[in-house]
């Protein structure tokens, strides 16, 4: 493309007046904004003592959990949809024939590498039985890489930990799958 190309629009910026150049009106404007913010409520919190307010836990994407059904069994049916959807390839499932009559398979092992996860929520979207969910737990720390690879037990324990505060999203949203 050449500079003479008729498709190029040349933008000439309007001239600033002397007053604009002298900055004084803008000065008052800027200073007012600054002073206003000086006294406005703060958005940060003193973290470990105070917890940040999570706007809507239903759409927050924090640490994963594996939901349990009414009988306390893992809800997952090992369909691999989440592992397929995961863009970070961090879900690893080993399926086994289910010991229960109401389903064919169940996950013998189910691990999520929280270090590779990008918390996109695709797994939650993909799951047909709402088994994997992202909670609003946000301080995810560990002392080693191994510790950050969450296995089935750990993911189920996250459910036990959070179910009181955060009921299953499907129930919350009022569209629980009919049996």
């Amino acid at each position: 493309m050449q500079a003479t190309d008729p498709d190029i629009y040349w933008i000439t910026e309007p001239q600033l007046g002397l007053a604009g150049n002298m900055y004084l009106p803008l000065f008052m404007q800027g200073l007012t904004t600054t002073v206003k913010h000086l006294f406005s409520p703060k958005v940060t919190v003193s973290f470990p003592e105070e917890r940040p307010q999570i706007g809507n836990p239903l759409i927050y994407r924090g640490v994963h959990r594996l939901n349990k059904d009414e009988a306390g069994r893992v809800k997952c049916v090992a369909c691999f949809l989440c592992a397929t959807a995961c863009p970070a390839h961090c879900i690893d499932i080993v399926a086994a024939p289910s010991p229960w009559p109401d389903r064919e398979k169940y996950p013998e092992s189910f691990t999520i590498d929280e270090l590779r996860c990008i918390f996109c929520g695709m797994c939650e979207e993909a799951c047909p039985v709402d088994a994997v969910e992202l909670t609003s737990l946000l301080d995810l720390t560990g002392r080693s890489r191994e510790e950050m690879i969450f296995d089935k037990e750990k993911l189920l324990s996250v459910y036990d930990m959070t179910q009181a505060a955060e009921p299953m999203k499907s129930l919350e949203l009022g569209n629980a799958p009919s049996k």
Partner: protein, 412 residues
Amino acid sequence: MSPDLIAALVKIALLIGGLMTAAAYLVLLERWIAAWVQDRKGPNRVGIPLTDIKLFGLGQPLADGLKFIFKEEYTPAHVDKALFVLAPLVILAAALAIFAVIPFGSVVPDFDIWGYKFTGDAVNLVVAPGVDVGLIYVFALSSIAVYGVILGGWSSNNKYSFIGGLRSSAQLIAYEIPMGLGILGIVLSTGSLRLDAIIGSQAQSGWWNAMTQPLGLLVFTVAAFAEAARLPFDLPEAEQELIGGYHTEYAGMKLILFLIAEFLHMITAALLIVILFFGGWHFWGLTGADDQVTWLGALLRIFVLVTKFMLVVLFFMLVRWSWPRFRFDQLMSLAWKVMLPLGLLNLATMAILVELEANGTLPVGSQGTFALVGWGVMLVGWIGSALVAPLQTDNRPRPGAGGLLEPERLLA
């Protein structure tokens, strides 16, 4: 040792200790203000070490200082060693030496310690009392800062540092002129270069120079911001854009010397604004007359001075978050095309008024007239410029002003 010498040494010790502490805590204040303005909480953790006492983060400066001390004192191999070490020393020494003539209060009553008699007159709250060239001394020393900057840039043997140094010295030199012009009006109307005399004359007439010379205040304040390299004039550093300007190659203690010097420049600028334009320690009906000094009066004067100083510093810090940085050409045209004429206008007005006062046309001490004329000149200048060039503060492309959003160009 004579009492004078002891007094001077005590004052120097107090001054340097006080200034260093002040600089450290002003850094903390600056960080607080930065945080509050951005709706954050700011540093509030570091308190007394090894305990849980947090004290609103008042231990932060100490921690920062320790961090700088324990940092590796790295000197790149390609620098000019001698000048490289000299530069921060020059800039810090000059910045500290300025305070020798700055009065931190007024007079104190007579007193004696351990048999040494001190008369209140001798114990002036200035390290070097009675320097008749006070203001010139301040300017001479603040110009030396340019040497520090350019030495730092040059000795680093690095093109970025060098360019940063050049930019910085161009800025410092350009704004020295409006700064001088802003002050000349005051020197004319006071008839003295001594800072305490300038405060004294404001206290005597009860008219602060800010009221009688608003234009001078404007010019001086803008120039002081530029001299102290504070935003919106912080082109020497421009943390977000340059890699650090003239002190790119510095680390550890040498870097902190530069940073302290920068803060001292801000302190100087704020003190000068207070002393020259806002009456120093004077406040109507609070600070009393000079002939009946009590301890209460002396302390009140110091308190008033410090309060005014803190307000000006607060202004410095708020301005930092209110404005975007100038471009270099804007910086230069502001200095030469706007501030220089305004400073000359102020000077000419003051010269005329002082002359009229001297030859008897105006009664002596007609500060009210001064104020009226000063504000009149400022307002007429402002309205005039607004009429000549309309109050246009937005240069974004928009309909009717050319550019992409012009309807006929979109249709064509």
